[in-house]
């Protein structure tokens, strides 16, 4: 092994010397010459690193995976329960799912890697429309999209549940999940965050029903009666589109006249229903989506969203 390493070192030295010859190479061929040397150098360095790790890993003894403890190590114990913690975002997410479940909503998790069709096309975004820019999406080489909103699941929810409509049942599903936006991180902005989407479709539902369901959710979540408000909004996949606000709950130190913007919502655009194979003449529905991180920050009085994904035990063990 050692001799192999020495051989590689020698090879590297020889190669480094070759770089000196570059001045003898005609100018137009220098680029190619340099690239070739670099490729060979990377190869040698790679082999050296591999060899080094082989040497490092060589002395390792195997262990008996069927044993409950190591030789001479004593009994393996769990850590004390005191140290344990659940992530606050996940705790709230579980709670949100449970409240919606009690209101008749099934839950399905949002995908973290999706495509243009689900993220935009199926949601009635016109091709090349400036509205697509507002989402600051990431993209992979293949054109896949880490979704910027949980609405990326609407098409799937509608398609998977449309059979219920024929039976006279409603589609009622929430979609919690992780979403991504290409933006710089600071105390109040994260490129990675959580949303919860809601979709409801039936023959008779109205915008008034939507406001009722959202109010009920937030009243259950905060355990008190709440005043609600709306603002007109714009989303290509709902018509009408609204922003939904609640009176800041007393538990969060809210005073009369303080309102919090909680989510965007609206009546599902007929084109969205049509694309998913639901007859918009016969059925209509509503959908909403809002951030979860802010709910949690408000609840615990946190001031820096970056804590959530920092993985620091000093923070997490507080929960």
């Amino acid at each position: 092994m050692i001799t192999e390493m020495e051989r590689l070192k020698g090879e590297l030295k020889a190669l480094n010397a070759e770089y000196g010859k570059i001045k003898d190479v005609p100018a137009e061929k220098r680029g190619e010459f340099g690239r070739e040397l670099n490729v060979r150098k990377q190869e040698i360095l790679g082999k050296m690193a591999e060899l080094e790790s082989e040497v490092l890993n060589a002395e390792v003894e195997s262990l008996d995976v069927t044993a409950p403890m190591g030789v001479n190590e004593g009994i393996s114990e769990l850590l004390t329960a005191d140290n344990g913690s659940k992530h606050p975002l996940m705790v709230e997410m579980d709670r949100i799912i449970e409240i919606y479940r009690s209101m008749g909503f099934e839950a399905v998790e949002s995908r973290q890697l999706d495509d243009e069709f689900h993220m935009f096309d199926s949601l009635n975004f016109e091709k090349g429309h400036p509205a697509r820019d507002g989402y600051d999406t990431f993209r992979t080489e293949e054109g896949l999209i880490p979704p910027a909103h949980t609405s990326t699941m609407q098409y799937r929810v509608l398609k998977a549940n449309r059979h219920k409509l024929e039976k006279g049942e409603a589609i009622a599903t929430v979609v919690p999940g992780r979403v991504f936006r290409n933006e710089d991180v600071d105390a109040t902005h994260e490129h990675t965050f959580y949303q919860c989407e809601g979709v409801y479709v039936s023959e008779t539902c109205t915008l008034g029903d939507m406001l009722g369901i959202l109010r009920e959710f937030f009243e259950k979540y905060y355990g008190q009666k709440l005043d609600i408000r709306t603002q007109p909004g714009y989303f290509p996949f709902t018509e009408p589109s609204l922003e939904f606000l609640i009176e800041k709950p007393k538990t969060l130190g809210g005073k009369k006249g303080d309102y919090l913007e909680m989510l965007g919502c609206g009546m599902i655009h007929p084109n969205v229903l049509k694309i998913a194979g639901i007859d918009p003449e016969k059925y209509h529905g509503f959908a909403w989506g809002g951030g979860v991180d802010r709910l949690v920050m408000l609840k615990y009085g946190l001031d820096d969203v970056r804590n959530f994904e920092a993985g620091r035990l000093s923070f997490l063990r507080e929960f």
């Binding site: 995976v65 839950a107 995908r111 109205t206 009722g212 007109p232």
Partner: protein, 846 residues
């Protein structure tokens, strides 16, 4: 976008509503008001004054002035003539002019938002002249950059002693509007369109100014105009209207005008009268205008012109913009050319080669519409975010180009002469008619609006509505309903209003005004009705429903969370994207990861294949932070390219649970990690088995496990994950202690196996016996075999038993291991006698 309320008031009556209530209503029914800037005190203690005398001081640039403020300024020292003395350095100061005077103690308006606002005082100049306050230039008054001269006020607008804030409605309140939710509403990017909405909200019928509805070309000689227009493609430029005017150059006027102050209040800098007028009309109507120097345009075009050709740019074509920047055009840019030579980047900025200046005699004013899709790309490629392109990318309606440019001619009629107008419109005006049933409105909103209310709402904001019952059966009338969005050519076809009848209309035919490019389907109309009347006035109710079935994945995750946190471990969330270097350090192949091409930083470039590498990084950080021993876990999604696509043609996703156990003072954490895995399995009711990894038996995405100290995690015959210690080389790279251990398992397989473990633990009714025993075994014989042998022996004796390992000991240089157990056993039939116990122990010890 900034909206000056005093400008808005010129188009809508705001007298019946307080400012706070107005802002609330706009927020609830049109658009979010992000901020309110109260400028009512901005011009306090600033007055229009008359310069009575102006005496040049020799050998200086200064002029000693006496001004008349009509006695309005308080606490100021005046001469016997009641006049105030003030020194002025501007060359245009002269006796008889009306100027703007900032009294001592007042703040310079341009500095009100600065950290230290500049307060004007009284001071002695040149050692002997008292100067009280100052005569202000347009820059100090916050109306632009002009600072050589002082502002002059026309005697038609004011007289001496008038508080300056009362001029042109300068005591104003400015609303800061959140543009984003108006992406689909080009009409609201003009004061008139905004006012129309506010009127509708306040219950007033809005009267659109007549000139905006005047589509005729009379008064304009369109015949003998020496200009041709060619539109290469109606999709990229549907309409181009050009007005030719003749004047005396674009020189600054003598007086400060209202338009300059309106531009300033809307966030734009006044430049020159012609440019200001184009901007004024843009802010008023949403229609951007651009003025070319006619003679320069002709010169650029060469022989055969003048002809304006609008076409897509050729890749690499060059153009010098007004701001002096030379840009290379791309093929999605739209260019305005003079006989095919570029003179402007359409929608974004004019070219240097046709810029108007003080010597300009003839101008061509462009009023056009362009494809918002192309302009959006132009915006991104060239980084131009002007007020004009912001409006163009909302899709300004083609219908307004002619009325707006005619208004331009009218407003400048005193200074310039219109020579003619050329208008090229590829398609011509079409006004959509959308039919909607009143029942459909109420059915979607959950309201009980009458047809009168619905009609009235729409008419207030410029829709023409005819009532009738032409949709049989009201709502849900079948395909005809949705096909009802049809076109009629403007303006001849209008659906006549049906004569008033006793029975209310059940359906409405709504003619969409030309400025509402966003209205196409019945839902668009329903939105208008709901929004303008206020969604907050809609009664909310909750449809009946029961409890829904639970999602198995979420149930599993919640249980895992409960069990592991209850056992002292900490749940983490880490990013779904990782650095390529981390993948290389742990031995993964970056080519097997989806790569994000527009990542914020290299730290977030690859979609992760496994969660453990992220947890290892966090473990190292927490050890460094002083935590000596801990277990961390995360449940999240993972993706690998080699998994391919699912039936929806999106990457197959894995739902993984990952766990890392790290300890600064421990040689090996394998059995700690194993303890957690087996404890979790037991609590979930899943039977797990570990299988030694043979040779290099792990795929590359799990290359960081030391194969000699790892095991495959099996559920039945299914391989669900890996548990093991990290390779020494990886521990080294990540600055982790050797022996750090971890596992990662796929949760999808676990879902179906939860609670499948048979709980058939029976107890004997006879007393059980407890004994300790130590068995000696050759090292190399697995623990499983040793324990298995004991279990078999006890089982063969028809005993009920429980085996608890208590120690595994191996002396140095010995090849034997001593494995100690604590045993509990009982007979199913009887109490075990002493002799019987002796016999069993004897068997075990052999």
């Amino acid at each position: 976008m900034l909206i000056a309320l005093n400008w808005l008031k010129k188009y809508v009556d705001l007298s019946g509503v307080g400012t706070d209530e107005l802002i609330r209503l706009i927020g609830a029914r049109l658009v979010e008001v992000e901020g309110v800037v109260d400028q009512r005190k901005k011009y306090e203690n600033i007055f229009v004054v008359k310069v009575v005398s102006a005496e040049k001081i020799p050998d200086t640039h200064l002029t000693l002035c006496k001004i008349d403020d009509a006695g309005v300024a308080k606490k100021i020292s005046r001469g016997e003539d009641r006049l105030i003395q003030v020194m002025c350095g501007a060359p245009n100061v002269r006796a008889g002019m009306l100027a703007v005077w900032i009294a001592p103690g007042a703040v310079v308006p341009a500095s009100v938002n600065e950290d230290a606002p500049f307060v004007i005082g009284t001071r002695k100049m040149l050692g002997k002249y008292e100067s009280h306050g100052m005569l202000a230039g347009a820059d100090e008054l916050d109306f632009g950059n002009e600072h050589k001269t002082i502002a002059e006020i026309s005697p038609d607008d004011a007289k001496a002693g008038m508080p300056f804030g009362q001029l042109f409605g300068l005591e104003d309140i400015i609303l800061e509007i959140e543009n984003k939710s108006l992406t689909h509403r080009p009409d609201t990017f003009g004061i008139i369109g905004f006012a129309r909405e506010v009127a509708g909200i306040l219950g007033q019928k809005f009267e659109t100014p007549e000139w905006l509805m005047d589509f005729g070309e009379k008064d304009f000689a369109t015949e003998n105009v020496d200009l041709k227009i060619k539109l290469a493609d109606g999709d990229i430029c549907p309409r181009y209207t050009a007005l030719i005017m003749e004047g005396k150059g674009d020189k600054k006027g003598r007086y400060l005008g209202e338009i300059e102050t309106l531009l300033a209040r809307s966030g734009m800098r006044p430049v020159s009268p012609l440019v200001d007028m184009t901007n004024y009309l843009m802010l008023l109507t949403g229609q951007p205008l651009h003025a070319f120097d006619y003679d320069k345009l002709v010169a650029v075009g060469g022989r055969g012109g003048p002809e304006i050709i609008v076409r897509l740019a050729k890749q690499g074509e060059e153009l010098e913009l007004l701001d002096g920047k030379m840009i290379k055009l791309v093929s999605s840019d739209i260019v305005i050319t003079s006989s095919d030579r570029p003179i402007a980047l359409a929608g974004a900025m004019g070219g240097k080669n046709t810029e108007i200046d003080e010597n300009t005699r003839k101008i061509i004013v462009e009023s056009a519409t362009f494809s918002l899709y192309n302009l959006r790309k132009t915006q991104m490629v060239h980084g131009i975010f002007s007020e004009a392109i912001t409006r163009f990318t909302k899709g300004q309606p083609a219908g307004q180009t002619l009325p707006v440019v005619k208004e331009f001619a009218g407003l400048l009629a005193g200074d310039m002469r219109s020579l003619g107008l050329v208008d090229e419109w590829v398609d011509g005006q079409k006004n959509d008619v959308v039919k909607v049933a009143v029942e459909q409105v109420n059915g979607l909103l959950g309201t009980e609006y009458s047809s009168e209310l619905v009609m009235g709402t729409l008419e207030r904001v410029g829709f023409e509505v005819a009532g009738g019952d032409f949709l049989e059966n009201g709502a849900g009338a079948g395909p005809s309903l949705r096909a009802a969005a049809m076109s009629s050519s403007h303006p001849s076809l209008r659906i006549a209003k049906s004569p008033k009848s006793s029975s209310p209309a059940t359906s409405l035919a709504v003619t969409v005004p030309y400025w509402r490019t966003d209205i196409r389907i019945p839902e668009d109309i329903i939105e208008e009705v709901g929004r303008i009347n206020g969604y907050d006035n809609i009664l909310s109710r909750v449809p009946l429903h029961g409890t829904a079935a639970a999602n198995e994945l979420f149930v599993l995750k919640a249980r895992v969370r409960e069990v592991l946190a209850g056992a002292g471990a900490n749940e983490l969330l880490t990013y779904s994207f990782i650095h390529g270097d981390l993948m290389r350090k742990v031995g993964q192949d970056v080519k097997n990861s989806y790569r994000v091409v527009n990542s914020i930083s290299p730290d977030l470039q690859y979609v992760r294949q496994q969660i453990v590498p992220s947890l290892l990084v966090k473990a190292a950080e927490n050890l460094k932070d002083g935590f000596g021993e801990f277990g961390v876990f995360e449940m999240n999604q993972v993706f690998r390219r080699d998994l391919g696509m699912d039936e929806e043609d999106v990457p197959i996703l894995g739902n993984n649970l990952a766990f890392v156990y790290a300890a600064r003072e421990r040689k090996s954490c394998f059995y700690r990690a194993k303890k957690y895995l087996m404890y979790l399995a037991r609590r979930l009711g899943v039977e797990l088995r570990l299988e030694q990894v043979m040779g290099k038996g792990l795929p590359q995405y799990e290359a960081f496990y030391e194969p000699r100290r790892s095991a495959k995690v099996m559920v039945g015959d299914e391989w669900v994950g890996v548990i093991g210690e990290v390779k020494k080389s990886v521990a080294h790279e990540l600055k982790l202690p050797d022996g750090t251990a971890m596992f990662e398992v796929g949760m999808n397989t676990l879902i179906g196996k939860i609670d499948s473990l048979e709980k058939s633990f029976k107890t004997s009714q006879y007393p059980s016996v407890e004994r300790d025993i130590t068995v000696v075994a050759k090292s190399g014989v697995s623990y499983e075999k040793v324990e298995g042998r004991i279990a078999k022996l006890l089982g063969d004796q028809e005993l009920m038993y429980k085996i608890t390992p208590t120690a595994i000991y191996q002396a140095e240089n010995s090849d034997e291991q001593k494995v100690s157990f604590h045993l509990e056993f009982a007979d199913k039939q009887k109490t075990l006698a002493n002799e019987e116990i002796q016999r069993i122990m004897g068997l075990l010890e052999q």
